[in-house]
């Protein structure tokens, strides 16, 4: 039953993802990609258990490496996306001085 339940989640998440992303305008496609870099760093959550769990040496080493790699994505991805999005400005309305 667990498998069927997971497959349901897969199906719904895939459709939701497509509907959400389709609405992102072309002008934001680069921030979208760096932002999804950050989100794919969610592997970090899985890696935490492997890194800090009560397990053999190999698992701990691999888990720690996965934590490090995923952290690069999470920290770097969100940060650079924020830096980029901060640059997008609307045209100042005529007559409005900055």
């Amino acid at each position: 039953m667990e498998i069927i339940y997971l497959l349901f989640v897969v199906l719904l998440a895939a459709f939701l993802g497509v509907e959400l992303i389709r609405k992102v305008p072309a002008t934001l496609h680069t921030p979208l990609m760096s932002g999804s870099n950050a989100i794919s760093g969610i592997t970090l959550v899985g890696a935490l258990a492997a890194s800090g769990g009560d397990s053999n040496l190999l698992t701990t080493i691999l888990g720690t490496a996965a934590v490090a790699l995923a952290s690069i994505n999470v920290v770097g991805g969100y940060w650079v996306t924020d830096r980029m999005l901060g640059m997008f400005k609307k045209k100042a309305k005529p007559g409005v001085q900055k």
Partner: protein, 462 residues
């Protein structure tokens, strides 16, 4: 289910909601920054709550990994040039793929003999899938990064037997995959699977030319998400499944946008290295008319409506700030200035938009191809800066051209076209451009930034 586990899973649901709201806010430039923040909040929540997990007994290594990774990520994010974003995104795609691969491997290494014999086949299939997709993503991204940053030749690397090698790889992956799933206690199959995935990613990407890299990055972006999602299936972690798929969907949509903009199928792009070279089409007739920056200024001074079409050459010349300066001068002079961005301009989706945003060009002055083509006749001057294929009329006129059928910005229909270019040879894709030979086209040769700066000086002196 004990209490802590319930709390963790409930928090995952909240985190997933934050990711979804974050992506929704990303659909408009005004709210996008807030969306990114909401998404980051979701990530923070998911990570913090996971640390409560009772399986985690030591935090030393977690902190060590996080400090190293976080420092590298922060350093990259702060120092990266906007022109180099495509390289950075491909590198991050690669890290994402590698993280999933290693997580899959760690999950396998953490299983004792009993688990290996009793665990359901579903776990091993998803584990295998994680390792394969993660491996292909990693090595493919490293190649894409190398091509984009000029560390390896951007040209498609083709040799005899490449097709056979690829087919052989797929067969070997299928065989090793079957052996792994049926006899998981032999770790050799896992290691072979990792090696095959890595080398397959390498060959699959190295045979794709530099001009198709936007498609490749978008696709690898999608893979990195799918790998994370598969890792979630293998470890039974729903937040990974959901979130990974959001990324997977995002990459797939961008891939399809890119392919549509080039009027090619994904298969055509991926196998482009195997295609026969196109027979030389018709010879282009006419001569190139060169214009000096000073004369270009006189034309621009009289222009009422100007359209700028940027390409990757603008990024290389770092000309975006000079372009912005020219825009202000033209607007003070009473002209309107619009920008037309082709979906495949630059080296990744939306690359030009970010560069222009960096130079303070308001995003509502940027238009897509479909918006400017119907009113092209109204523009007095179109300035093409470092773009080539995206304004190439051969896509419409020459049946033999490799880009025939690709939708382009029809700059040649404007009253005058200025092409700012280093020299009059073919572009990145190596395709001849009949636009250079049109009666209403003037080539302004030289470094794009220098040219624009000279025009700007002329304005200042006028």
């Amino acid at each position: 289910m004990n209490d802590i586990l319930t709390i963790i899973n409930f928090t995952y649901v909240v985190a997933a909601a934050l990711f979804i709201i974050g992506l929704k806010l990303l659909s408009h430039p005004d709210t996008a920054r807030k969306g990114n923040f909401v998404s980051a909040l979701g990530m923070l929540l998911a990570v913090l709550i996971t640390l409560l997990d009772q399986q985690i007994i030591s935090y030393h290594y977690i902190v060590l990994g996080f400090v190293i990774g976080g420092a590298v990520g922060a350093w990259k994010a702060r120092t990266i040039q906007m022109t180099a974003m495509p390289e950075m995104v491909s590198l991050f795609n690669g890290f994402g793929g590698l993280a999933s691969l290693i997580l899959g491997w760690a999950t396998f290494a953490g299983m004792d003999l009993l688990t290996l014999q009793t665990e359901s086949i579903f776990v091993f299939v998803t584990l295998l899938f994680t390792i394969l997709v993660g491996g292909i993503t990693f090595s493919g991204s490293v190649v894409a990064w190398g091509k984009l940053s000029g560390k390896i030749k951007a040209k498609a690397f083709i040799f005899k037997g490449l097709r056979e090698l690829s087919v052989l790889h797929l067969v070997a992956i299928a065989v090793v995959g079957y052996l792994f799933v049926t006899a998981p206690s032999t770790s050799l199959w896992l290691y072979l699977g990792i090696a095959l995935a890595l080398s397959f990613g390498l060959w699959a990407t190295i045979s794709i030319g530099g001009a198709d890299m936007p498609v490749v990055i978008a696709l690898l972006n999608s893979y990195s998400g799918i790998a994370a999602s598969a890792a979630g299936l293998a470890t039974g972690n729903t937040i990974l499944v959901v979130t990974g798929l959001l990324v997977g969907a995002s990459g797939l949509i961008l891939t399809s946008v890119m392919c549509k903009a080039m009027n090619r199928s994904l298969i055509n792009v991926l196998l482009s290295g195997f295609a026969k070279p196109v027979a030389a089409g018709e010879k282009i007739e006419g001569e190139i008319k060169v214009l000096s920056a000073q004369d270009a200024f006189y034309v621009l001074e009289a222009a009422q409506a100007v359209l700028v079409v940027p390409g990757y050459g603008m990024a290389v010349a770092q000309a975006q700030h000079a372009v912005r300066e020219l825009q202000s001068l033209l607007e003070e002079n009473g002209a309107t200035v619009d920008y037309a961005i082709h979906a495949v301009a630059g080296r990744m989706p939306g690359h030009m938009n970010v560069l222009l945003a960096e130079a303070d060009v308001p995003y509502d002055q940027l238009y897509e191809m479909e918006d400017v083509n119907p009113r092209m006749e109204n523009y007095d001057v179109v300035i093409v800066i470092g773009a080539n294929d995206v304004v190439n009329p051969a896509a419409k006129e020459m049946k033999g051209s490799p880009i025939y059928g690709m939708p382009v910005i029809e700059a040649y229909r404007a009253k005058t076209v200025f092409v700012l270019k280093r020299s009059a040879d073919a572009g990145f894709a190596g395709v001849d451009n009949p636009l250079f030979f049109k009666d209403n086209t003037r080539m302004v040769l030289g470094d794009a930034k220098d040219t624009i700066n000279s025009i700007v000086r002329e304005f200042a002196e006028a």
